[in-house]
């Protein structure tokens, strides 16, 4: 299908907690799920990755213009990969990067890792696809008759 994926290394889990080892675990899972040939890393990455701007309470701080400006670096990083999706393993990242994708016009999808794991296992139902774009919305739907 030639759908490409990149992954956001969550600051909290990688740089601030478990370091590069867990970033490798994350890539093992992601590559197993999407296929190694469909994965492309942002630069820089792992412990050296840039924060997306969703952390530290920024999402609720009221400084929206500044938050989007902060996130421009992340949006550029993602757009340069030409990935169709950015996988976000952290809620704050998910919300922020989703907004960056809309705001800066990249229109790449932003998905939770759990969505892709279940998609690859063939157990992702029709109502669990909120963050999949049209390219994957109808792919391998589990119990399609239950669509709401």
């Amino acid at each position: 299908m030639k759908v490409k994926f990149t992954v956001q290394d969550p600051c909290q889990i990688v740089r601030k907690s478990y370091g590069d080892a867990i970033a490798e675990d994350l890539r093992f899972v992601v590559k197993s799920v999407v296929g190694e040939q469909n994965f492309i890393d942002m630069q820089p990455n792992r412990s050296n990755n840039y924060c997306c701007g969703g952390g530290g309470g920024f999402l609720q701080s009221g400084y929206k213009d500044e938050r989007l400006k902060y996130g421009q670096l992340k949006d550029n990083q993602i757009q340069v990969t030409q990935a169709d999706y950015c996988i976000a393993g952290c809620h704050n990242c998910h919300a922020q990067i989703h907004e960056l994708s809309e705001h800066y016009g990249g229109h790449y999808g932003v998905v939770h890792l759990w969505t892709l794991i279940c998609l690859s296992l063939g157990i992702l139902g029709p109502n669990e696809r909120e963050y999949l774009n049209d390219d994957l919305k109808e792919v391998n739907v589990f119990h399609p008759e239950t669509a709401m």
Binding site: Y70, I117, L121
Partner: protein
């Protein structure tokens, strides 16, 4: 060569930076800056509010406490710690920022963060959306039942709340149960297929902690203690933080 040391005019005072140094291990290395700028060059917040990490640290070192106290930039630094990671001296600028947040009167801190913290203090859920333990339990049970019927391969799937002795204590961002409950299901499925013995807690199930971002130490300790105590009370061995 002069025999007398040259005395500078500035009086020795207990500056903001001095106080932060007292509470950090190794004083956060706050005195060791080489002014190389590695922090600022890789910081996404550089330039916002005409500020950057190196400048913020220099201002603190110079005792410019009034300017530090007024800078809105402390709410634009996400404390991601990339500056420490690239710093040759491992200077803890994010802790300087965190403590500068605490200099603001509580009611003057950003309303969104303040409101989310206060919501979390309303009941034992610790949810920034104010959701009660009863509402959370209702949503989880309702969604679980729906999926067990609709997808018979998962008729045995569990989503326990307060299961005594479970291996894993799992928390949950409030966004899913409150605004998009179907998004809880993929994770339940993965845990089910992996055979994981897990549970939510009726207390402290919500993973987010805006009181920490608010720099309200008492409140964020309360939130964290509530959830940690619940995991302990249930005898869970591993705390899984999905947040």
């Amino acid at each position: 060569m002069t025999q007398q040391p040259i005395a500078l005019g500035a009086k020795k005072s207990n500056t903001f930076m001095d106080k932060v140094k007292e509470i950090l291990p190794e004083g956060g290395n706050l005195n060791l800056c080489l002014t190389c700028g590695a922090c600022s060059s890789g910081c996404p917040a550089t330039g916002l509010e005409n500020m950057d990490p190196r400048k913020f640290l220099r201002m603190a070192a110079l005792g410019m406490d009034e300017e530090i106290r007024k800078s809105k930039w402390v709410w634009m630094c996400s404390m991601c710690q990339r500056c420490i990671y690239v710093c040759p001296m491992q200077i803890n600028i994010p802790q300087l920022v965190f403590n500068a947040r605490a200099l603001w009167p509580r009611e003057a801190r950003p309303k969104g963060i303040l409101g989310s913290c206060d919501m979390a203090l309303r009941n034992d859920s610790t949810s920034a959306m104010g959701t009660s333990p009863e509402d959370f339990t209702f949503v989880v049970e309702d969604v679980l039942e729906e999926y067990r019927e609709a997808q018979p391969e998962f008729a045995e799937m569990q989503a326990p709340i307060d299961k005594q002795g479970a291996e894993f204590f799992l928390n949950q961002n409030s966004r899913e149960p409150v605004t998009e409950p179907d998004e809880m299901v993929p994770l339940w499925k993965i845990l089910h297929l992996a055979g994981a013995d897990w549970t939510y807690g009726s207390k402290g199930w919500a993973g987010e902690n805006y009181c920490m971002f608010l720099a309200d130490d008492e409140a964020w300790k309360h939130i964290t203690t509530t959830t940690a105590n619940q995991a302990d009370a249930l005898g869970c061995k591993t705390f899984l933080n999905t947040e």
